[in-house]
Symmetry: C2
Subunit: 352 residues, 2 copies
Amino acid sequence: MRAWETNVRRVVPYVPGDQPKGDHLIKLNTNENPYPPAPGVCRALREMEADRFRKYPDPSSASLVRVLAERYDVDEDQVFVGVGSDDVIAMAFLTFFNSDRPILFPDISYSFYRVWADLFRVPYETSALDEAFRIRTEDYERPNGGIIFPNPNAPTGLLLPLEDVEEIIRRNPDVVVIVDEAYIDFAGGMSALELTRKYDNLLVVQTFSKSRSMAGIRIGYAIGNASLIRALNDVKYSFNSYTMNMPSQILGVEAVKDEAYFRETVARIVETREWAKGELRKLGFSFPDSSSNFIFASHEQFPAEKLFEDLRKEQIYVRYFKQPRLDHYLRITIGTREEMEALFAFLKVYPG
Amino acid sequence: MRAWETNVRRVVPYVPGDQPKGDHLIKLNTNENPYPPAPGVCRALREMEADRFRKYPDPSSASLVRVLAERYDVDEDQVFVGVGSDDVIAMAFLTFFNSDRPILFPDISYSFYRVWADLFRVPYETSALDEAFRIRTEDYERPNGGIIFPNPNAPTGLLLPLEDVEEIIRRNPDVVVIVDEAYIDFAGGMSALELTRKYDNLLVVQTFSKSRSMAGIRIGYAIGNASLIRALNDVKYSFNSYTMNMPSQILGVEAVKDEAYFRETVARIVETREWAKGELRKLGFSFPDSSSNFIFASHEQFPAEKLFEDLRKEQIYVRYFKQPRLDHYLRITIGTREEMEALFAFLKVYPG
């Protein structure tokens, strides 16, 4: 080992789902939206002038912050934007989780939480979900340095009722509670956003990657009271003055503006999901009742890893987690009706 | 103070130059390139398909890494890319500067170094530049936890000769040495890149924001030996799996491909700079001899702050730093010949 290597921060990074390439594959493995971004996004892209790129972007991303504030009926100083919700959460860990007490999150949830805790050397403890994969609110009553959980949870898709979310926040007024709502738009109006008016320690994080069909553009945001957002921005501007590039700022605004398209595509995905639940049940699968854009499904006869591999041979990609309690399941993103039909056609004749 | 606020990381962020808006202003304050990005960038923008944005970008930015590796004649595993060189340097601080010993950098240099050190709680010591604003290599011989300096330096524009750069690296084999070459393309082939073959602890950081006219797109990169780059990537993937969005990846590739345009616009800026030096001298200004795309100029009769304000009234923006040793100077970005002529026309009749 070379001497300089002794001061290198050693981490085990998060592993995202594959991004296989090809035109004919069915990609149900990374919870992307099967529909294109809003028409206004395409229009703004066509009208974008490359000449402007020679200048720095607005460091505050003011235009994007403004439309988000309007859309969610909060003040502009209550909105923080970042390069995907991963960037937002990374900044939030760095900003808010500086206690000697452990932060708390569920043992089964977004696996990146552990990675951030390790990266920033934040002590943490996890609480086991119950046998039905539910978060037990009483697990979040012990002394802690902060709390984070996804709602709906991933990879289960299960929604924690809003009163339970509030219960966790109410019992933890002395730490920052982050509700990671990457999938909330598929859950039918169950966001904790309204609770930010009542609790100054609540930060709600959402993303453009799923419900707004903009995973490739990298936009996430957080909403909370102004002093939380100010602290987050101070850390962001101490990390990189200009995190969000011009295309993201310009295209992001258009995605928010087209509320009708947003509602329509979300409704279509929810409709496909509900139909897919019925099909999966008929095929003998069982799963927690999903409120997200994926279903976490298991089959008694079909070992999940084998099914995952067999699907891949057919160019159908789903996500498999080789981990205790998860390794009997496949996480299947809701694609278009046609994509789901191709999946079910395969499963109907699947020998196991 | 609310209880949760006791665990908030308090930082004093870096303050970037103003981004004033308007079509008729002359913006010489943030070292942007006065020429548009390469024609291939504009073409790729016009051909970009918004439909692709629904999917996640390639987390490794492989296409961009590939063209950079070809351009700089290194292996692909020697190239790290980030969201502007600020993002690259922030990741490098987090990855490499974890010693109890202080890191070292010049007292007058990129003011963000202090901000990152504070953010990540890295101890640091600065060394004073000499009376002519030169880095003294002997200042970098004491025990330390890492070294970073810009070359050419900012805001002075002064180039440290390559043999002095090598001297600093050679004397510090046990720590990572980062040479921040944001402005090196204006210095005529004086990059430390070739030294990465010889020193495994050297990381060279460059950017698309200046010489490639892409400040608004946010691309920076680092080149070094493969184990440095692997460590950097592990930290990046532990922070955010997908930092660089699709437009950056696509447009960045085109910017690198057009070597002729790159050389031509860089040559034009250097030519304007050399002419501007003569004009400034005639007007009674003095300045360190710049090898960058800006000139750090001072005038005996004109107090810098007053001149800064008077220029701003004329819609001519330059940069003024209200700091000891710097507050007699203005940092003037090299614009087009026409923009510089407008500046000089004003200065020629300036009453002071």
